[in-house]
């Protein structure tokens, strides 16, 4: 079930370092929101705070609220492990578990959640791989290690792994940056399809990609070295790319395009 995300007054720290300052934004369900901005401005940091991965870093701290359909995921009664089970994440470099077979990779999350029924696991594996447009390529070698696939296939395997648990939200951190153009297109098509069922937030350094796949774009910027990153503006993708309200956004977009 796709859910909406509401971020309010979010401040993120690594120890004493204030990495991101005062972010507020909303992501409607069944929508793709792209995070763009120069390297180091805190896109990944914000993304990782949406499924409580930020706090995995030593000394990391979060201020502000993140709500999932109105429920604060940072409430003291909430278990971060449970949050991560309902919010899937795909990383920059494909990271299938190398010692596990393709099938076991896909159902790893379900197994963690305690599902043991083999038939059910097989069904989910097939459904998720179909959902990730990978089924036809791997259906004859489900028992081979996931590490043996090409980079693009591995990334789709990771997407299959993330959607196998039917998350409420799917977070992707530059999912195509390690892939060739053909695999990139395959993933972009997939994102457009997944949008029908999931709320998606994607970080990308590729502006054409943001323009192609997203409905809404958030532009982050860095005022100076050592300064915290900031959300400059967030709006419909079309508006951001044609007629942004902030000069910094326009500079960044035109700079990259020109």
């Amino acid at each position: 079930m796709a859910k909406r995300i509401d971020v309010k007054d979010l401040n993120l720290f690594y120890g004493k370092f204030h990495a991101v300052q005062q972010v507020s934004l909303s992501v409607p369900p069944r929508n793709v929101t792209a995070f763009i901005g120069p390297s180091g401005c805190g896109k990944s940091t914000v993304l990782r705070s949406l499924n409580r991965m930020h706090e995995v870093a030593p000394g990391a701290r979060v201020e502000g609220t993140v709500q999932l359909d109105g429920e604060d995921i940072y409430a003291s009664t909430v278990d971060p492990v449970q949050v991560r089970r309902t919010i899937g994440m795909v990383f920059q470099r494909p990271n299938p578990f190398p010692t596990m077979s393709i099938r076991d990779n896909v159902v790893a999350g379900l197994k963690l959640a305690g599902v043991k029924n083999k038939k059910q696991l097989d069904e989910v594996a097939e459904r998720s791989l179909r959902g990730a447009n990978l089924w036809n390529e791997v259906k004859d070698r489900m028992d081979r290690p996931g590490g043996g696939l090409s980079g693009g296939q591995q990334q789709r395997l990771c997407i299959a792994r993330a959607i196998a648990v039917q998350p409420d939200v799917l977070l992707m951190d530059e999912p195509c940056s390690a892939l060739d153009p053909i695999s990139t297109l395959a993933i972009e098509d997939l994102i457009t399809e997944l949008k029908k069922e999931y709320t998606i937030v994607i970080v990308t350094h590729n502006m054409q990609q943001a323009a192609r796949v997203s409905d809404q774009t958030a532009f982050f910027n860095l005022l100076g070295v050592g300064q915290p990153g900031q959300l400059i503006e967030v709006d419909d993708t079309e508006k951001i790319f044609s007629n942004p309200t902030q000069k910094a956004t326009e500079d960044y977009i035109s700079g990259r395009f020109g």
């Binding site: 499924n51 991965m53 995995v56 492990v81 449970q82 949050v83 991560r84 089970r85 899937g88 994440m89 990383f91 470099r93 990271n95 299938p96 578990f97 190398p98 010692t99 596990m100 790893a108 999350g109 963690l112 959640a113 290690p145 590490g147 990771c158 792994r161 993330a162 648990v165």
Partner: protein
């Protein structure tokens, strides 16, 4: 490799003439009498069994303990605590074996006596825990020796495992966390599969050391007239301790050859252990 071959060849050349003079079955006899070079009767069965059983017992204790320590230090302990703790373990490796031997005989042996007596009285029906062929009060048993060996090989197994576990790729760990894995599940799905081969080969390294350990066992193990009866509370001698104790006999090449033959078997044994470790590690390569 060439060096190993040369050493093997040396042992073989030295051993063959004495083997020809052996009036007992070298592989299957439990006797060992080489004092009278005109009628030598010796076989390695007891040496082999005592060596293997004490080393295996040591490994059985050291493996889980080392695994626990390595996981604790790399995954659970805060850095401030992990560093000094790891240092102490590494320090254990620097203690000379003779100190371990003395400690085993004079400190650990007496401490273990009540435990040994309890095991014998309550589990004595299992051959491994049966009453042994030496006095348990003196502590010179395979039981004591195995525990000392375990302590001796603990640092190497721990250190290598720790290093391998530390090298678990961050992206795999993050992948597991992002799927909603608890700390222990992260360890189970990423750290252990990644480090398994390294842990096994570290253990084999430890086993190799335990098989060849000389001084500590020479000091600890009580000599016995009777043969090994499959009890941990037996005494006896391992290949290495037997050879070390026989130095006075080395002046006659015929009796020296008998010990060299025993050394050759130990050499082959450690070689096999190493080869086994390599095969295990190679078998895992496919997944990396």
């Amino acid at each position: 490799m060439v060096l190993i071959g040369a050493i093997g060849l040396f042992l073989l050349v030295q051993a063959i003439p004495s083997l020809a003079l052996d009036n007992a079955n070298f592989l299957f006899s439990r006797e060992w009498s080489t004092g009278d070079v005109t009628n030598m009767r010796y076989g390695i069965l007891d040496l082999f069994l005592v060596t293997v059983v004490s080393a295996a017992f040591a490994l059985l204790i050291a493996m889980p303990v080392a695994l626990g320590i390595a996981l604790f230090l790399t995954q659970y302990a805060p850095r401030r605590l992990a560093r000094p703790f790891a240092y102490v373990i590494d320090l254990l490796a620097a203690v000379p074996s003779i100190i371990f031997g003395l400690w085993g005989l004079f400190v650990l042996g007496p401490v273990l006596t009540p435990l040994g007596e309890w095991l014998i009285s309550s589990l004595g029906f299992i051959p491994l825990f049966a009453k042994g062929n030496v006095s348990i009060a003196l502590g010179g048993t395979i039981f004591t020796a195995g525990i000392v060996l375990a302590v001796m090989i603990l640092p190497i197994i721990t250190a290598v495992s720790r290093e391998v576990f530390d090298r678990t790729p961050g992206p795999h760990i993050e992948g597991a966390i992002a799927l909603g894995a608890t700390k222990w599940e992260v360890v189970r799905t990423t750290v252990l599969p990644f480090g398994k081969a390294g842990y096994v080969s570290a253990s084999m390294l430890g086993l190799g050391r335990a098989l060849g350990e000389t001084i500590a066992l020479t000091i600890i193990l009580s000599a016995t007239g009777s043969s090994f009866g499959w009890s941990l509370f037996d005494g006896g001698a391992t290949f290495a301790s037997k050879i070390a104790l026989a130095a006075p006999e080395f002046n006659d090449p015929k009796s020296a050859g008998a010990y060299i033959a025993a050394g050759l078997v130990l050499f082959v044994l450690t070689f096999v252990v190493n080869a086994a470790a390599r095969t295990i590690v190679a078998g895992h390569k496919e997944y990396e």
